[in-house]
């Protein structure tokens, strides 16, 4: 039992902190400090920078190009990343299709796609949800019909984050409608520039463009872009759901947000306003501490080689709820200062100027990636042995 980091880990932290200090680009740092989200250029510049260090794919096994860090090191890295004001890595390439490829992909697929992810050059998006297959993914309808050396894909995906940035999409498609729902699904890699593929923006309630609809009309996808065999799509999707995600709770970024909010309390009008804000923040900090130590435990367990269990859902549920509560606190503590929506010049404290947008944006975090209600259903089955 030891709640301190080892000396090696402390050294590691020091070196990462120093590197962050010297390397996080100023415009990105300022963007995060304002509470805004990076644009494509910033995001990609940052990921390429990490890629150039070999740090972007820190969760990957060394044989596929990971840096060989322990879960603790990855956790420390994430803390330093967040507190330096750098954005989290986009998950689609690094955390999702990458592990799928090195676990289920052919040698040719690995050679072709892994290096681009590792260097932050290829941007990916995830084609899962459909208009009538949101929470109920198994009912998806986008078809891929084998036609000689390629598939013809027809259908529609929705809620596709960053599809308008992406070079490639990994996609669940139905290759067989004669078998049980889950069995007829396959995992396909699709070039976003293929003719017949159309991306239409969906604007989110923060006023920004993150999401898209993607339409497929006779989109030709080479058969070598099938991962695993036909019908393995569901297995791969489930693999990803339980795949280790030591940073799923968002602890590092919540710390950053709470610290931003703390720094603005002095700008509040009266002593009472300040005291009430301090007390509200303290409540959030205590909850964050409980989340953080729970996260530490899963990190330590990962380093001992233990599989990620049901805690993973718990971290997601509590983490997203806390992110929402922090963003709500920021808006409400800001009060008047949070009301402006599109002015350049903040009213008073900078941090409140984007607070409402962030609050709006984060309403999605209890919905995407399996809503918290769905997470609880899954967890309940495990607990009750159903």
């Amino acid at each position: 039992m030891n709640l301190d980091f080892s000396n090696d880990e402390k050294e590691f932290r020091k070196s990462i902190r120093q590197w962050m200090k010297e390397n996080v680009p100023d415009d990105i740092r300022r963007c995060t400090a304002r509470g805004a989200m990076p644009d494509k250029n910033m995001q990609q510049r940052w990921e390429r920078l990490l890629g150039s260090q070999g740090w972007l794919t820190s969760t990957w096994p060394e044989q596929f190009g990971g840096p060989g860090w322990s879960a603790t090191q990855r956790y420390i890295f994430d803390q330093e990343r967040a507190s330096a004001g750098a954005p989290p890595t986009s998950p689609f390439g690094v955390a999702m299709v990458g592990p799928v490829l090195y676990t289920f992909g052919s040698e040719a697929q690995k050679e072709r796609w892994l290096p681009g992810i590792q260097r932050g050059e290829t941007l990916w998006c995830q084609g899962y949800s459909e208009p009538n297959a949101g929470s109920d993914l198994a009912s998806l309808k986008t078809r891929a019909t084998r036609n000689g050396d390629h598939y013809l894909v027809n259908g529609q995906k929705i809620w596709t984050t960053q599809a308008h940035w992406a070079d490639m999409m990994f996609c669940l498609v139905r290759t067989d409608s004669t078998v049980k729902q889950q069995q007829g699904i396959s995992f396909l890699l699709i070039d976003m520039k293929t003719p017949g593929l159309e991306v239409r923006p969906i604007y989110s309630i923060d006023g920004h463009h993150h999401l898209n609809e993607v339409y497929f009309t006779d989109v030709k996808v080479p058969v070598e872009n099938l991962v695993g065999q036909e019908g393995m799509g569901w297995t791969i999707a489930k693999f990803l759901l339980t795949h280790e995600r030591t940073t799923i709770a968002g602890v590092a970024d919540i710390h950053y947000e709470i610290n931003r909010l703390k720094s603005a309390i002095d700008a509040l009008p009266t002593e009472t306003d300040k005291q009430l804000a301090v007390r509200r923040l303290a409540g959030l900090e205590v909850d964050l501490m409980a989340l953080e130590y729970t996260n530490f435990r899963t990190v330590a367990a990962t380093d001992e080689g233990k599989p990620f269990g049901p805690e993973s859902s718990g971290l997601k549920i509590k983490g997203t709820e806390l992110q929402q509560r922090v963003s709500q606190a920021m808006v409400e503590i800001g009060g008047l200062m949070s009301l402006p929506w599109d002015n350049e010049e903040p009213i008073g404290e900078q941090i409140f100027n984007q607070a409402s947008r962030r609050y709006n944006f984060l309403r999605a975090c209890t919905i995407y990636g399996g809503s918290n209600e769905i997470q609880k259903n899954v967890l309940a089955k495990m607990l009750l042995g159903l």
């Binding site: 949800s129 949101g134 808006v331 409400e332 009060g335 008073g348 999605a364 919905i367 809503s371 609880k376």
Partner: protein, 371 residues
């Protein structure tokens, strides 16, 4: 006790609902969001024709003698329709302040608002004073006004503004032209238009000072309570729509081969929203009557309680509405997210929850003193 709306109020509400149904839609709202600093002349004239410009004000000052309850009935429908036409910002808000100030100059200006000639906004907030409207940071030194005003809800089109300022220890209300200030215009969280004003030793004349001292304090305090009640009415209208839409969505949206309304957890969410909506309606009825009570302490306690309650439960209903809608709930295409912004906005526009809890406590202490 009697909770039936007066026939007149019901008629006003029905008219407002019908008018908005015929003349406003989610598309109009989206169009209005994309406009800047523009007032839709036809709709503005229609509101005038409906008698809304005079409704909030006593007959003795040239109004049609409507009660706060009547005005709440309209504002509730504006909220339900997501309507951004600045009826509150350019008519009710400045008009009530002028009526409460009750001086010859203020009533003359009110007259021009009622007739539709004047476009006047209220600038009673600045970020240094926050919600503490009786202690603004704007200074009136002799004939010079200096300082800032923020979040001046002017619909983007006002040409005059009523500002509050401290003249020594004394509160003063001053009317001045917008172009006497440095103006920065922007959109607010609910999509409405506002401005920040910077006043750099602006020279004013004596007649621009509408009132001072206790008279000014009483006017601003009555205005604040009145506007708090309208915030609640607006949130109620929005919540009513969110609840109805969410119930309908739960009835029809299918997942896992069944409607999502067949899941017990969704059912309990809906029940919670239904019950909360009942209570929000009760609080609205309460504050619509007591928000203009002659008993200042009762009035303050009522508006503080209502706003504190709304900041909690009205916000909660819209958050849950989004959650039940899932993905589509977080898009600009659907109205649900816009209602969430409206409710969040209105929960903060005249005092947040903590501010009103503090007011509620103070009012309770004063009440005890009296008793």
């Amino acid at each position: 006790m009697d909770f039936k709306l007066p026939e007149n109020t019901t008629m006003i509400a029905d008219t407002a609902r019908r008018y908005l149904k015929d003349n406003y839609s989610f598309d109009s709202y989206i169009a209005q969001l994309n406009e800047s600093n523009h007032l839709e002349a036809n709709r503005w004239q229609a509101m005038n024709d409906l008698g809304w410009f005079g409704l909030p004000f006593a007959e003795s000052v040239g109004g049609y003698g409507g009660s706060l309850l009547d005005v709440c009935a309209i504002v509730q429908e504006l909220g339900a329709a997501l309507c951004l036409d600045p009826f509150v910002d350019l008519i009710v808000s400045p008009g009530k302040l002028l009526e409460f100030a009750n001086t010859p100059t203020s009533l003359a200006l009110l007259d021009r608002i009622i007739s539709g000639e004047a476009r006047v906004a209220c600038g009673l907030y600045d970020r240094h004073a926050g919600y503490h409207v009786l202690n603004p940071s704007l200074r009136l030194n002799g004939e010079r006004l200096s300082g800032q005003k923020h979040v001046v809800s002017d619909g983007g089109v006002a040409d005059a503004v009523l500002v509050s300022a401290m003249s020594g220890d004394e509160l003063a209300i001053v009317a001045l032209p917008f172009d006497a200030c440095d103006v920065e215009r922007y959109r607010l969280l609910d999509g409405s238009r506002a401005a920040s004003l910077t006043l750099d030793d602006v020279l004013i004349t004596d007649e621009m000072v509408l009132c001072r001292g206790d008279a000014a304090k009483q006017a601003v305090s009555a205005w604040f309570d009145y506007l708090c009640a309208l915030d609640c009415a607006r949130m109620y209208g929005a919540c009513r729509e969110v609840y109805q839409a969410t119930l309908e969505y739960a009835r029809t949206r299918k997942q896992f081969g069944t409607t999502i309304g067949s899941f017990q957890v969704i059912q309990h969410y809906l029940v919670d929203a239904f019950i909360d909506l009942q209570q929000l309606e009760s609080m609205l009825l309460m504050v619509s009557v007591k928000g203009e009570s002659a008993n200042v302490c009762e009035r303050g306690r009522a508006t503080a309680a209502a706003k504190a309650y709304y900041a909690n439960r009205a916000v909660g209903i819209t958050q849950q509405g989004i959650q039940i809608h899932g993905g589509v709930g977080v898009t600009e295409e659907l109205n649900i997210g816009h209602y969430f912004r409206l409710v969040t906005h209105a929960s903060l526009s005249h005092g947040d929850r903590e501010h009103h809890m503090s007011r509620f406590i103070q009012a309770g202490e004063k009440q005890n003193e009296v008793v």
